[in-house]
Symmetry: C2
Subunit: 629 residues, 2 copies
Amino acid sequence: MVQYTEQFILLLFFTLKNGKHFIFITYLCSLIRSITIIIYMYRTNTCGELRMTNLNQEVILSGWVQKARKFGGMIFVDLRDRYGITQLVFNQDTNAELCNRAAKLGREWVIQVKGTVAERSNKNPNIPTGDIEIISSELAVLNPSETPPFTIEEDTDGGDDLRMKYRYLDLRRSVVRSNLELRHQMAFATRSYLNERQFMEVETPVLIGSTPEGARDFIVPSRMNPGEFYALPQSPQLFKQLLMVSGFDRYFQIVKCFRDEDLRADRQPEFTQIDCEMSFVEQEDILGIFEGLTKYLFKTIKNIDLPDFPRMSYADAMRLYGSDKPDTRFGMQFVEIKDLTAGKGFGVFDGAEYVGAICVEGAAAYTRKQLDELTDFVKRPQVGAKGLIYVRYDLDGALKSSVDKFYSVEDLQKWVERAGAKPGDLLLVLCGETEKTQKQLSELRLEMGARLGLRDKTKYNCLWVVDFPLLEYDEPLNRYFAKHHPFTSPKPEDIPLLETNPGAVRANAYDMVINGVEIGGGSIRIHNSELQKKMFSVLGFSDEQAQAQFGFLMNAFKYGAPPHGGIAFGLDRFVSIFAGLDSIRDCIAFPKNNSGRDVMIDAPSTVAQEQLDELNLKINPHETPVTNT
Amino acid sequence: MVQYTEQFILLLFFTLKNGKHFIFITYLCSLIRSITIIIYMYRTNTCGELRMTNLNQEVILSGWVQKARKFGGMIFVDLRDRYGITQLVFNQDTNAELCNRAAKLGREWVIQVKGTVAERSNKNPNIPTGDIEIISSELAVLNPSETPPFTIEEDTDGGDDLRMKYRYLDLRRSVVRSNLELRHQMAFATRSYLNERQFMEVETPVLIGSTPEGARDFIVPSRMNPGEFYALPQSPQLFKQLLMVSGFDRYFQIVKCFRDEDLRADRQPEFTQIDCEMSFVEQEDILGIFEGLTKYLFKTIKNIDLPDFPRMSYADAMRLYGSDKPDTRFGMQFVEIKDLTAGKGFGVFDGAEYVGAICVEGAAAYTRKQLDELTDFVKRPQVGAKGLIYVRYDLDGALKSSVDKFYSVEDLQKWVERAGAKPGDLLLVLCGETEKTQKQLSELRLEMGARLGLRDKTKYNCLWVVDFPLLEYDEPLNRYFAKHHPFTSPKPEDIPLLETNPGAVRANAYDMVINGVEIGGGSIRIHNSELQKKMFSVLGFSDEQAQAQFGFLMNAFKYGAPPHGGIAFGLDRFVSIFAGLDSIRDCIAFPKNNSGRDVMIDAPSTVAQEQLDELNLKINPHETPVTNT
């Protein structure tokens, strides 16, 4: 009955809204006993904008009931929309009928209210509208709501699964929505910056051909070309290079890319890149433009002035941090002490290719229990170290270590000196095969940074990592792979090494790293067909394979390709860093779970047999279609 | 040998570019006999920016050789980049070695030149740089080019197929590139306008679930969920409505959409929409914002001030133009003359449901041959009329018609009077079943508009078509279909008709039409679960079907959906209209042909059996995979 009344009111409301003023009609009807007030125009203001300067104004607001509470003869309703929250007041003494209707409002009902802006006696300094409230004179329910499955508040009682199933309700929470507002701002500011600098946004196709390198492609069967498939792009790499061949000079695109990979916290099957390419440039030009972009984003969105970004070679990054994306918000750089440890009868160090330490400031007082925890940490399979050696440099100058049996105080003194340790510091030492140990020590360093509170999410340290190796050797497959991609240009002075020692060739490649996260990466490309052929041969492609898979790009390069290079940023990660999120999932409106499912719309799903027939496809009969995992 | 030299020079050039000044080195080498000049930095200016104000400046330019010609002891080279063309001069008398090297340059070679800006004796008023030329002092070939398969000029000798195969060369033509520059400008201006007005761009997923309404979906097999498929979105319709339920208030997205349809000139399997949605609005709010957007685009990009857009009901559009997207650049509105033609013994008219005429101004002098051509035109199967009746209103006032046998001059006088014809005009008349005949008359009207030069591509007539029917009846299937989509709201006053006469229900739906092209369309949505259920039942969906296919949206509406509505523009068509193109293909960087193929990269293509195995798929064995169509 109530619902029918609402619909009827709405119907009348639409029918009668011809005037530009409010139409008040009194309508008697056998079905409706009460006198109904119809309001024209959904709102004069949003729920975030009224202030003391609006006192005594008559306003109309629309929004969601955040909560309602009775207090004396009054009902207070917090009305919410994207822009904020405004308090509504219904007074039993002045309008009992209205107040009684307000008493029936539930959480998340959509209502429209007319009233007058008044000063609050109990001001709320926590919200921008906290100085005022609306003395309500009219109320219309635009849509009622069932009780939501979790509370729509900053700290919700909804678990991850429930929030994902009802993502449209989760997005009502300002803490989630603000991530998407930030995302919009960052994308818009990026476009403004690049547009100013003559970059053209060009849309490249989504239905393309499959490429063999890198991760698995998603494929799309073609109905018009039976037995054939499109692929979804992992990046617009080939197209942006073709646009340079076309003379587009400065290209960018904020674009969805796709990878059919097993997922984890910072991976989604579809993700967004800020993809860029420039002609007639060298590495320095690209670093300049995109360091500028990053500074511009920090300035316009967070009002942070960043200093110039330091450059670090890949070799230094590995040597000092054991990572090509070092978190430089804190020091704790690696110190190699292999030479200082040798020949004292400690077989573990003597047999190790690498012995490295980090100096943890002020941690000499760590208890046995804490040190055991750290040992357990490095022994976890994800880290994989065999054990942890420590040296305590006590405040009184005493040196105690877990290898006192082998090393004298004088020996240890040399270690702490090299590490620049002060009394009160703790030295943590790992050893083993160089590359593996550096990675383990990197994990330990990050763990210690976190424990000491040095990984502050409000602090931003940006740097460029440069001089990457061009190739990576794959032991089991006995071949080289391109570290970036097969179009990355070697440093010209290293070209002769392609023949003699391919692993030592450095690339004109660069990554931008912020707080230990790789935000973007790119390279100067090979624009010369001969060099590209050479590169394919090093990668083990036969001429035929190279021609079949990249022939069209190699052909394009025959018709006057300019020198060019580019970069791509992961927008999802970039936004996460700005928002201080640990996962990219919460800056994506409708993310997928770790099984690649959208649990809200329940996709993927089975399709009708006729559709498969049209596509000339069959599902292998020995597998049963799984509807839900 | 030449190529090796080039590579060697490039290598040196990279090796030695440490200084911020130009490094000139002289390098003697057994392989290289000539003295090589190395230039640091690819360019100081683009090929489009130098003017008389730059006289005597030393500059470096890089670009493509548009053409080279000898004249006396000089060689003139037109150097081209995205920004323009600049003339280079090489002088045999002052630098013979350089001039000899310039003589070897071919079309589309990429070169770099250093020189001094000088005033031209033979100025070229057709290009902005036409007052100056560069007296060249140094030259480096950055990349040679094979002879391109067609000339890279405004009017090319390349046919469509060749141009598509070498699209990267076709895109070098300024006439094609400028369409993409326009596209970038329009997208950027659209974002600026909407951002100013609190719209948030939100990315909705590309891998979604299949929807049953509308055109065929492209589907994507899921590896992680065997036997299940994602679908690519035909539009973000459901997601944008969910965002309104989430309280996003104002959403937009410039987004790729996908339809697996048979293609024609203005259809592509992937296309781009400017997709928008707003909450707490009525039709009037949406028309206001997006009429504003269109005016803003015309003003900022074409410097055209558009008047307010007229509104036309669907019924009027059909009655006066026989089309829901009338080309209003010219009049020639339909005139119904059934009543004037009845009862004079002309069975064809008497038996027709509809007799309609258009008045073609100044066409009374059309010859027999021209009139026969028009008769042939309307009889073409694409138009489908049985014949054409004409009335000539000669300049001397005489009236002659092809039905003189049945109608007196007095009869014809009434026809021309109603049509508002003047002496010198021609009346063209069609008759038959109303809707069919109106469509035929519409084709004839457009043809006459074209013949009379009234469809001027530099003139823009915009209008809103409103009050669309909510439903369309499908005779063979004996059911109603949603004319826009199943979420379109009926006009509240027509809701009762849903029970009694669904075909008469009008929708809160609107289309923006420019020059006879539907540029955008949208509607106010149903936000009430009950009304939505009613709608599905009218569309013949069982509760179970509706729940299975749209359940998640109907569920979402239970939790407080605001009143909302939106619109989507076809960006490809919008750009075509701005660019004066007949097909959307030339404002898309890498379009597909009518078989859905990208002939440049040769996609779609077959995939490896292992990939199909991983996806648990089989191609039906009775079909042979087709590699090329």
